[in-house]
């Protein structure tokens, strides 16, 4: 199914790209080769609906996505100018018929993204051959469809998709000892004494002082608990529920394989969700520099400014990630250029002095490249969001007021804004849920825990999701959560939903 047949860039765009490529590399951007393809809007939206990959496994949600994109386009509500995917080489798609200034802006923007993909550490473990992997996934799913029937496979894909946010977003970056359930038994015995001995005592008369009975008792208690824990399954809570199900749920081989596909793709897309603000900010920063300093000539600059303003516009009452990222990066550049950081800066409380603060360090550019290397949205905002920036950008927190049934501005207080922003971004705004016990009630039932952090789950969705987990686990499934300020246990046992209060 060759979606895109013509890969030649028209001569004028090729020339434009060579020019922009030169500027970008001169600025220090570095990326895998970029292959541009010019698509008509139908094909562009098709690719967009498929997440940027021309070959995906068949699923109705791509059709839904496409339907909405096309309608958005026809009604003039939304236009996609560009798409770029994290692969090597990078594939980027341009919309046929855009003006040349738009195409140039897009190319400059894409070079920013491509540089970010290559150098940001959160993208380091991603599969750069994902184009091939996606095509292989498609072929595998198609094979299962041919063998087991469309609806059966589709139904299972729906079930798996319902769980695709239950992964451990940080798993690719750290080695979690507790995620390894296989520790050799002899190793463990060596590390864990079989009885409580207390602390080593050199003088016998000191024994009761060093190891008083209460202490020994508490040690004994801990050992019993520890041993009980070892009898638990899993021994430690597991956050990567998808992989847990893959390992332990009773699945057919093809189901196992589909689950793996969904999990692979979820992990592949995770860094993009993790770096939305900083990634878009970085790309916008570079397109604006490349265009205004180099690429746009006097006849184009007004059109560029118009387009750029559209991208980074502050919509009243909303937060535009392009704008937030761009402004924060510029702010960082200025601060490090002027030396507005460190102990002296923090401790200075003379406003006038602060306003005139300029040590002429010129470290801005260097700092920016460092930021793009190490940060994701959470660490980026945590480290660089300042009270001054919040005031300048007129940030505020809002909340739903159930009395008036409106969203209302709550506060312009810096700590609150920061806490809210980080709270919304942490774990991608997804709830933390982990497998606590897969042998609950000693009957092989699955016990999940939602770590409640102030916001309730949407109960109707939670129930449907629970049912989908049951479909895979095939034994009753429980979720401990809090809503309406009460600890509760939701249960689905294959036919009925149950709910009971804990405590």
């Amino acid at each position: 199914m060759a979606l895109i047949t013509n890969t030649d860039l028209p001569a004028d765009l090729q020339a434009a790209w060579e020019e922009i490529d030169g500027y970008a590399r001169n600025y220090g951007l570095d990326y895998f080769p970029i292959i541009y393809q010019v698509l008509d809007y139908n094909t562009l939206y098709e690719v967009a609906a498929l997440g940027g990959f021309p070959t995906r496994y068949p699923h109705w949600r791509y059709g839904m996505e496409y339907d909405q994109l096309i309608k958005g386009h026809v009604y003039g509500l939304s236009i996609i100018y560009e798409m770029v995917i994290n692969t090597n080489p990078v594939y980027a798609y341009l919309l046929e018929g855009n003006t040349s200034i738009d195409q140039k802006t897009v190319m400059a923007h894409v070079s920013g993204h491509a540089d970010f993909f290559k150098h940001n550490m959160w993208f380091a473990p991603t599969n750069r051959k994902m184009l091939d992997a996606m095509a292989n996934h498609a072929a595998r799913v198609q094979r299962y469809i041919d063998r087991y029937g469309y609806e059966r496979v589709e139904d299972f894909i729906d079930t798996c998709l319902s769980l695709d946010n239950l992964i451990d977003y940080h798993a690719p970056y750290i080695n979690r000892p507790e995620a390894q359930t296989l520790v050799s038994i002899t190793e463990e015995e060596r590390m864990m004494p079989s009885q409580v001995e207390g602390l080593p005592v050199e003088q016998p008369y000191m024994r009761d002082y060093i190891n008083p009975p209460e202490f020994l008792e508490s040690q004994r208690q801990r050992m019993v608990e520890e041993q009980q824990r070892l009898r638990m399954f899993p021994e430690n809570p597991q956050k990567d529920i998808l992989s847990f199900l893959m390992n332990y749920a009773p699945l057919d081989r093809w189901q196992h394989s589909v689950l793996e596909i969904i999990r692979d793709e979820a992990y592949y897309f995770a860094p993009q969700a993790m770096t939305k603000i900083i990634n878009e900010g970085w790309a916008s920063y570079w397109h604006s520099r490349i265009m205004t300093e180099k690429a746009a000539d006097t006849s184009e600059i007004v059109d560029f400014a118009d387009h750029h303003a559209g991208i980074v516009a502050a919509h009243p009452g909303r937060l535009n990630p392009y704008r937030l990222g761009l402004m924060l990066l510029r702010d960082i550049e200025e601060r490090w250029n002027k030396g507005r950081f460190g102990k002296d800066w923090e401790e200075c409380d003379d406003l006038r002095e602060k306003q005139a603060w300029d040590k002429k360090l010129g470290l801005g550019r260097q700092k920016l490249f460092e930021v793009r290397r190490f940060h994701n949205d959470v660490t980026f905002l945590d480290e660089f969001l300042t009270p001054e920036f919040c005031v300048e950008q007129k940030l505020f927190t809002f909340k739903y007021n159930s009395d008036t049934e409106l969203y209302e501005i709550v506060s312009r207080n810096f700590p609150e804004i920061k806490a809210k922003l980080l709270g919304n971004l942490t774990n991608f705004g997804q709830p933390f849920i982990s497998v606590q016990d897969a042998n609950y009630n000693n009957r092989g039932e699955l016990y999940l825990l939602h770590r409640h952090e102030g916001v309730d789950l949407k109960v109707s969705y939670a129930r449907d999701t629970l049912r989908n987990i049951w479909k895979i686990w095939s034994r009753p499934v429980h979720l401990e959560t809090i809503f309406d300020e009460k600890r509760r246990l939701l249960t689905y046992d294959g036919s009925d939903w149950g709910e009971r209060k804990l405590d």
Partner: protein, 368 residues
């Protein structure tokens, strides 16, 4: 080349279709799509289908926004999902607009209500002729010259005779290369149908009753339009006297006064005589009333007209009795008593919106 996405799109539409079918009773009784109908399509609001995930409810959420305003200022209803990233959305409440052609909708209706296809009554030999330009011929008028084909022929000939030079690709068609579009005349039997709606607009028929009629009429039209190529619709209103009106007036008009149903039946009779010979037309009179007729004498007259004049000529006569503020009269009862075994007369009572579904099933379920 068919698009890759087509398959997913078709599957998506199929799922939506399934949803609509599932909830058809609801759609029928609420007539939600009626106001939105375009020429050949209706657009139907369907709740967005969503893959359930563990996610936050929107209640406690909130987020961070940007712009002017003091604490306490509302952000307005229009900004339902302001703020950063993924937070605060509520996709469960989004609506999709599913577009559907009238044919598809009628098919759904037919499947769901298990409606039999109608066996057209009138003469089958009403023939419509239609010319379609489907073929290509070697002779023809210049105005129908087929440029592409002609040049292709010339190219083929030049390659075959070795006179084609790729370096200088000049193609000169000669007389034998010329191709012309040609037409075929297709004949298709056509079946004509007419719906004659009549409605009681006496004082006892209120807005709500008319709405019931309007929704019922929409579904009847959808089905009959699907069954017949050519459908005409006429409207009659009556109180003590009957007159023909336009569609707009039919649904808007408010009259007072008493009710003489026979006046409407006489008008129906006259219409059929003047314009719709039954051997050429499939005739569907529908009559909606609250059943409160002037008196026994008029009802007797109605029964006579029906028995002698109308019923022998029509495919089906449907009487829908809606319940008005003053309750419903006994006209439905009278009809049922007089035409107990009459195949071509259907009586249905429509007390409220939930009855529309059954009324349509009763009206159209006979396959006449």
């Amino acid at each position: 080349m068919p698009q890759r996405i087509e398959r997913d799109l078709n599957r998506f539409r199929q799922i939506i279709r399934g949803k609509i079918k599932q909830d058809l009773r609801k759609y029928i009784s609420h007539g939600e799509m009626i106001g939105r109908q375009g020429k050949r399509t209706v657009s139907i609001p369907v709740p967005q289908i969503d893959i359930p995930r563990f996610r936050f409810g929107s209640k406690g959420q909130g987020g961070v926004g940007q712009g002017e305003g003091e604490p306490g200022d509302p952000l307005g209803r229009g900004e339902q999902q302001p703020g950063a990233g993924e937070a605060g959305e509520e996709p469960g409440e989004h609506m999709l607009e599913a577009e559907m052609t009238i044919e598809e909708l009628a098919q759904l209706l037919g499947e769901e209500l298990q409606l039999p296809n109608i066996q057209p009554k009138g003469r089958k030999n009403i023939i419509a002729e239609k010319d379609r330009y489907t073929g290509v011929a070697r002779v023809g008028p210049n105005s129908l010259r087929h440029f592409k084909r002609s040049y292709r022929e010339a190219l083929k000939r030049q390659i075959a005779t070795g006179t084609y030079d790729p370096a200088n690709p000049v193609i000169v068609p000669i007389h034998e290369d010329m191709r012309y579009r040609s037409w075929k005349t297709t004949e298709m039997p056509e079946s004509n149908a007419v719906i004659i709606y009549s409605m009681d607009v006496s004082g006892s028929m209120g807005q709500e009753q008319k709405e019931l009629v309007r929704v019922t009429a929409f579904w009847i039209e959808t089905w009959l339009r699907y069954q017949y190529k050519n459908l005409e619709i006429r409207y009659i209103v009556h109180d003590a006297a009957a007159k023909e009106v336009t569609q707009e007036i039919f649904y808007r008009i408010r009259e007072g006064g008493g009710t003489k149903i026979s006046s409407a039946y006489k008008l129906i009779m006259r219409m059929i005589e003047e314009r719709y010979p039954p051997d050429e037309w499939n005739i569907y009179p529908f009559h909606f009333s609250d059943g409160d007729n002037w008196g026994g004498g008029d009802t007797r007259e109605c029964v006579e007209i029906l028995r002698d004049k109308i019923l022998p000529q029509v495919n089906l006569f449907c009487y829908g009795q809606v319940r008005s503020l003053y309750g419903s009269g006994r006209f439905a009862h009278d009809l049922e008593e007089n035409f107990r075994d009459q195949e071509t007369l259907v009586v249905s009572e429509i007390a409220d919106r939930d009855d529309i579904y059954d009324a349509i099933k009763a009206f159209l379920g006979k396959g006449k």
